[in-house]
Subunit: 216 residues, 2 copies
DNA sequence: TAAAATTTTTAGATTAGTCTAAAATTATTA
DNA sequence: TAATAATTTTAGACTAATCTAAAAATTTTA
């Protein structure tokens, strides 16, 4: 139907659209580790297929059919990640690259059966919501730990940085999805935060506080 | 490491090698639904990578490293088929095409974990042996039902034809892997066979008898 | 064993995706 | 608002995989 590459472009545009409405050529090039010239070529092709709205120099948005494809790729990515962690005992920092391959397996029947096999999970191992078979899901609004003030509480529910380095760090600090945290103290000088997690004090930097997401 | 296409060529050469020692350009072209000229181009590339032994006009054989890759693809194919049937409840005639995609997922860690998750099955849903993590497996020698004489018994253990049409036919006739059969009668004229399966008589044509494999 | 048939390879194109370098457009800023 | 900077597109080239048509090699057959 669509090539591997087209799917990756659509997915990248989808993710970038969450930040900035219209998406620029350079943003896409950066996200896909490719060059602006290559992106322009692909944008023409995707526009021909009516998967994106594209006017030269003006940036792009997804059309409804482009968005549908992007969401189906994301559904597959997140369900496979869930499978890898819950059934095959991978760690949450080990699954992304494998899921990048698995997300391109085309069978819808396969992914719907996999979804049922696992009991229709709603969130992937990193707290990201999994679209259902019809592409529906609610983007739960999470805020970073850095948005809390002293004595406020939250439940760790997602991450802004999906890198192995960050995930491994969180794992070591026992800052994993589902844990309840309370802000014990905020350092005025460097904005680092001392959290109370299961009665233990955990000191995290401002950067970590920015990338760790909570619900209330 | 290698492209999908290279992997498909190696796998095709491996399967054809089981029949004919050295494999011809046209055999490969037929197996992969492509043209002889395309095959020649690819053979040069595989030879450059030392995955096949190739001398112009002389046909090809796999090198040890080529064979190792082919077997790893077959391992993945058969394990995924097992997963689809045993865990996701696909029918045995529905899994081949999906496995054709899944077999190219590169992670060895993934496939080894999947293997363990399923309890290290030795045969896929069609009775074909699954290579272990080191690529080892014994090619069990099966013979077709048509090789039996009257009153001989056997256990259905494999198929020579993997087409959906044939598999669905067997399913309808309840001629599935593991069943014990006994030859009740062989028709001299058309070589059709009457089998006794669980005390029921099942009449199959010579063609079916040729494509249904048994162990003793 | 020489002609005919078949198989295989080469030659030359095509398509998808990528690149660098240069040109065109848009945005910034002085 | 005109020059400068940054972004984006175009032009032209490259690689991988494919094709058709023609040439070369091998095999068959008479
Ligand atoms: Mn991921
Ligand atoms: Mn994830
Ligand atoms: Mn198969
Ligand atoms: Mn099989």
């Amino acid at each position: 139907m669509n090539t591997f590459t087209e799917e990756n472009y659509l997915k990248a545009i989808y993710h970038l659209s969450l930040q900035s409405e219209s998406v620029s050529t350079n943003q896409i090039a950066a996200a896909l580790n490719t060059k602006a010239a290559s992106v322009t070529d692909m944008l023409k092709k995707l526009a021909d297929k009516e998967l994106i709205n594209y006017a030269k120099y003006q940036g792009v948005t997804l059309t409804p059919s482009g968005e549908k494809i992007a969401i189906s790729i994301i559904r597959k990515h997140r369900l496979w990640e869930y499978f890898l962690v819950e059934k095959l005992n991978f760690k949450w920092d080990e699954v992304h690259d494998v899921a990048e391959e698995l997300e391109h397996i085309s069978s819808k029947e396969l992914i719907d059966r996999l979804d049922n096999f696992m009991g229709n999970p709603r969130y992937d191992p990193h707290g990201d919501p999994i679209p259902d078979s019809n592409g529906l899901f609610k983007t739960h609004e999470l805020k970073p730990v850095s948005a809390l003030t002293t004595n406020e509480k939250g439940i760790i529910s997602g991450v802004r940085d999906h890198s192995s380095a960050f995930l491994q760090y969180l794992e070591r600090m026992q800052l994993t999805i589902g844990k309840t945290i309370k802000v014990a103290e905020i350092n005025d000088y460097d904005h680092s935060v001392i959290l109370l997690v299961e009665d233990k004090k955990i000191h995290i930097s401002r950067e970590v506080a920015n990338n760790l997401l909570i619900s209330i």
